[in-house]
Structures are given as structure tokens and as C-alpha cells.
């Protein structure tokens, strides 16, 4: 599995607590494996029941042709063969990639820049910015989708109204009806929503860097930009790896934003994989084929995560040495 990003750190064993006069329950630090099992079991069971078992039954269903009735026929790999030729699915995969790349630049990149700004002494009202930036992430994706479809609306949307006020009405466009730019329009509000989420993660990682390192760099005459690139970036690369994984996994399964804003339209130009599966399931009622698509999403996401993990493997080797 290519998804085990974690912070690397040295694991010091617990101290041998055998001092004289101190009576210790050994189990206080080293619980029996039965205890571990008992604690882990509820999580494991709920998770297995709700996530893993449906994945397995989706894999099983993907070999069948089934539209919900009693008739269910085994068709082998035909669903997968059809999936490989399915233009809409691959277009939605491309759209997912577009969103992921734009969000990688827009969310993690901008969040890093803004977090670096917030680390400097120049900025006033730091906690205000931190709270306000996180605000959109707390709102439901469905609400965000609706609000932004108001923003983009041609007749009374925020953007076109502001352009009208500035006498730039010629720039006004039906933002959500242009197949060429729809992915950018859609990505902007996804970036907008989660930028604060990544900013808070990056800020937390930055806070754990020792201040003396920056002071030394300042004595040596490093500029703010140099400090951000040569000190902050390498120091928080483990956290950045986690945010990259969150970004990829989050954007490969993006659904609510697109569903509420465009519904995949115009045509299929803003279709994403999860929405494609949803439509195949509930509008076309091709349950077997939709299951094959879900398996496809899982495999493609795993592949992407694995690819992005390759550079971080060398980091982990470095820190292990």
C-alpha cells in the first residue's frame, strides 16, 4: 500500500522502571496484547463494516451486470473492458487531475506563503487571520457550492455585479457555462474553501521549528525569502508530505462541490469521477458498472499517492540514517 506517510522520529524505548522503592504496575506502560486488541477492536469493527466490506462487495459486484432487480448476470471482466474505453470516465479522471494540480498549487502553495507571512513579525492581528482563514473549511461543501454558484451567476452574481460597478461589463461572462474555463471556475472555490485547512496544518508545523535557527540565519544575513525556502521548507517537509496526500485523496473523491455547482455540466466538461459513479448508479442504474468505476477510482488514487510517495521515500531514508 502506498499510503503510509508519517512523521519520522526516533522511537526511544520506555525507560526500564526498576528503581528501588518504586512499585510499578508493569502493565501501566506495556499493556498486554489483549488490552491493545480490546481497545482497537471497536474502531476496527466499525471501520471494517462501513468502509472495507462495501469495497469488497463493490469489487464483487463489478464482475456482474446488475440494474437493481432480481436479474443479475456474471459477465467477468466486461465491465472493466468497458471502463477502459469509457471516454466520460477518463475525461472525469483528467478533470480530477486538473483539480488536484490546481489545488496543489493553490492550496498548499498559497497556504505555505500565507503561513510564512504569518510567521514574520510584520503582520498584525495574527490570530484574527488564522481564525478567519479557517472559517470556510468549517462550512459544508454543499453550502459552499451554492454560495459560489451565486457568486458566478451571470445575471446577479457577485463577480459580474462588481465588474458592472467598475464599468468592466464587457468582461462579464457566464462563468459556469463555458466548457473551456469551467474547471478553473470550479477549482477556485475548492481552493478557497480548504486553503485555511492547510494553512493551519502548516502553521502548526512551523511553530515547532526552533526560533534560534532563524536567528542564526538572520545573523548570517538571510532574507525572509531565503529563510522560507532554505529553512522552513526542509524542516516541515514531513508535514508537507501529509498535506500533499490529503490534497490528492481529497481531490480524487471531490463530489459535493461539483454536484451543487455544475452537476458535471455543461455537457460533461466538469464531470469528476465520484459524480460519474453517482450518476451511473442513480440515474442509469448500472450498479455493476458503477462498482467497477469505484474500484477504478480506488486504484487510480492509490497509484497517484504511490507516485507522489517516491520522492518522500528518499527523505525518510535520509532521516533514518
Amino acid at each position: 500500500m502506498g499510503c503510509g506517510y508519517r512523521h519520522t522520529y526516533t522511537r526511544t524505548p520506555f525507560l526500564p522502571l526498576k528503581r528501588e522503592g518504586v512499585k510499578l504496575k508493569k502493565s501501566a506502560l506495556h499493556p498486554k496484547s489483549g488490552t491493545i486488541l480490546a481497545y482497537m477492536l471497536p474502531t476496527f469493527l466499525i471501520y471494517t463494516f462501513v468502509v472495507i466490506v462495501p469495497i469488497i462487495s463493490a469489487i464483487r459486484l463489478s464482475f456482474y451486470n446488475w440494474s437493481g432487480g432480481k436479474k443479475i448476470t456474471y459477465i467477468g471482466l466486461n465491465n472493466y473492458v468497458a471502463l477502459l474505453k469509457d471516454n466520460v470516465f477518463w475525461q472525469s479522471f483528467r478533470n480530477n487531475i486538473t483539480i488536484t494540480v490546481l489545488c496543489f498549487i493553490g492550496q498548499i502553495g498559497l497556504a505555505f506563503i500565507l503561513a510564512s507571512f504569518l510567521q514574520t513579525r510584520m503582520i498584525k492581528w495574527k490570530s484574527f487571520h488564522r481564525i478567519v482563514a479557517y472559517f470556510p473549511a468549517t462550512i459544508s461543501a454543499v453550502v459552499v457550492g451554492f454560495v459560489w454558484s451565486f457568486v458566478y451567476n451571470y445575471d446577479y452574481g457577485l463577480i459580474n455585479t462588481v465588474l458592472g460597478i467598475l464599468n468592466l461589463s464587457k468582461w462579464a461572462k457566464p462563468w459556469l457555462d463555458n466548457p473551456d474555463s469551467i474547471m478553473y471556475a470550479v477549482s477556485i472555490h475548492i481552493i478557497w474553501q480548504y486553503i485555511g485547512f492547510y494553512m493551519v496544518i502548516i502553521l502548526a508545523a512551523m511553530a515547532s521549528i526552533e526560533k534560534s535557527i532563524y536567528e542564526m540565519a538572520e545573523i548570517d544575513g538571510a532574507s525572509g525569502f531565503q529563510k522560507a525556502i532554505s529553512i522552513t521548507l526542509p524542516m516541515i517537509k514531513n508535514t508537507l508530505a501529509v498535506t500533499v496526500m490529503l490534497c490528492i485523496s481529497g481531490n480524487m473523491k471531490i463530489f459535493d462541490h461539483i454536484y451543487t455547482m455544475t452537476g458535471g455540466g455543461p455537457g460533461n466538461s466538469s464531470m469528476v469521477m465520484a459524480l460519474d459513479v453517482y450518476k451511473t448508479t442513480f440515474i442509469k442504474s448500472q450498479y455493476g458498472y458503477a462498482s467497477a468505476m469505484s474500484v477504478g477510482i480506488l486504484v487510480l488514487s492509490m497509484l497517484l499517492i504511490f507516485i507522489t510517495r517516491i520522492p518522500t521515500m528518499s527523505w525518510r531514508k535520509e532521516s533514518d540514517d
Binding site: M1, C3, G4, Y5, R6, H7, T12, L17, V22, L24, K25, S27, A28, I36, Y39, T43, I46, Y47, F49, V50, V51, I52, V53, P54, I55, A58, L61, T120, M122, I123, H129, A133, F135, P136, A137, T138, V147, W148, F150, V151, Y156, L158, V162, W192, A204, N238, T239, M245, K253, F255, M273, A274, T281, Y287, A290, S291, M293, L298, M302, I305
Partner: protein, 220 residues
């Protein structure tokens, strides 16, 4: 003469430096304020637009409402079951967040503190859930819930909320627990605290800020 020149040069240098930092301060503050403003403005816009009548909104979508008009709210409260929906959302959110918080914390503690057999497998097992959208599994999930008589209850939704919220919470909380010094638990053990008491009385409060962050993000 020479001395004077260097002094004026120095003064010049200092003033240009000061001007430079001042402009940098103003520009960076301006950028951040602009950013924060864009973060809240769409929401504020919807908020004050909710006080407008339909005609007023069509006429000027951006302007402030001429007067506070609560008709829209009356309409929502009388013609829909919004109060019930809000109560349902509230209940689901609170219970799901508590569930994710507790379950992810417990598993993360063991995942990050102990090297037991199958630990890496278990971690990856939990992370797989992050890669598949809930909407792609609705049919198998529904069939399964129906067969086990779990569908159509007030608590039905809690299971998917918790289970699909777990992966992100586990990734975030696990790395955070790893950064908590072990001395904390060792000190507790020396003071005679039992394992479960250390877990819930000492490690849990330390992790709560981070865990709650990881937990409530996926729920809403």
C-alpha cells in the same frame, strides 16, 4: 568632511531601510487582510442578502438591504421543516465528532506508541478509506445496512460519518501523538496511574486540540 559624508550616508541607508521595512509591512498586511476579507465575504454576502426581498436582490445583488426584512426566515420556518433538519444535523455532528475523536484517538495512540505485529498493515488499512469517495460505495453500503437492519434509524448516518471520517483523523492525530514526549506517560506510571487512566486522563487532554481539528473537519 569625510566623517560627515559617511554619517549622512549611514542616515540615508537607515532611512531607506526603514522605508523598505515599512512598505513591506504595509504590503504584507494588506495582502493578508485582503485574503481574510475574501475568506469571509461570500458568507457575509449571503448573510445580508438573506434580509433582502427577491426584487431588491435582483436590482442590486451586492448592495446592503434597505431594511431588515425577516420574511425569508419566516418562510423557511413556517413552510419547511428546517428546525427539524437543523436539529438532525446538530445531533449527527456532535455524536459523529465525539465518535471520531474517541475512536481515532485510541487507535492512534496504539498505532504510534507500540510496534506490534501488523501495525503498518493496520495503519495502511485505515488510510485506504481516504481514497474512495463515499458516494461510490452508496449501493453496497445501503444493501449491507438494509440486510443488517441498520437502515432507517436516527443513528444510521452516524456509522458512515464516523467510519469515513476516521482515515483523515487517524493520519493527523497519529503524527501528533508521535510528537508528544513519552516522559509524560512515564511520569504518570511512576505516580501509579494505571494504563487506561494514563490514556484517558493524561494523553487524551493533551491531544484534544489536534484531534478535534482532525475530527470535525470531515463531518459537516
Amino acid at each position: 568632511m569625510n566623517k560627515n559624508e559617511t554619517r549622512t550616508n549611514q542616515v540615508k541607508f537607515e532611512t531607506t531601510n526603514k522605508v523598505r521595512t515599512l512598505t513591506a509591512t504595509i504590503i504584507s498586511n494588506f495582502i493578508l487582510i485582503l485574503f481574510s476579507f475574501t475568506c469571509v465575504f461570500p458568507i457575509i454576502w449571503v448573510l445580508y442578502s438573506s434580509f433582502k426581498t427577491q426584487a431588491e436582490f435582483m436590482l442590486n445583488p451586492v448592495g446592503l438591504p434597505s431594511r431588515l426584512n425577516f420574511a425569508n426566515y419566516f418562510q423557511v420556518l413556517t413552510q419547511t421543516n428546517m428546525d427539524l433538519y437543523m436539529l438532525n444535523s446538530f445531533r449527527n455532528t456532535v455524536l459523529a465528532v465525539l465518535g471520531i475523536l474517541l475512536l481515532s484517538f485510541i487507535s492512534c495512540y496504539f498505532l504510534s506508541r507500540f510496534r506490534f505485529k501488523g501495525r503498518n498493515f493496520l495503519y495502511n488499512y485505515f488510510v485506504i478509506g481516504m481514497l474512495i469517495p463515499l458516494h461510490a460505495l452508496l449501493v453496497p453500503l445501503y444493501i449491507q445496512f438494509k440486510n443488517s437492519h441498520l437502515s432507517n434509524h436516527w443513528y444510521t448516518l452516524l456509522f458512515p460519518y464516523i467510519a469515513f471520517g476516521l482515515p483523515i483523523a487517524i493520519v493527523l492525530v497519529e503524527s501528533y501523538i508521535a510528537s508528544i514526549p513519552r516522559e509524560l506517560e512515564e511520569a504518570a506510571a511512576i505516580d501509579g496511574s494505571s494504563f487506561s487512566r494514563t490514556l484517558f486522563g493524561i494523553v487524551l487532554p493533551v491531544t484534544t486540540p489536534n484531534s478535534s481539528y482532525g475530527s470535525y473537519h470531515p463531518v459537516f
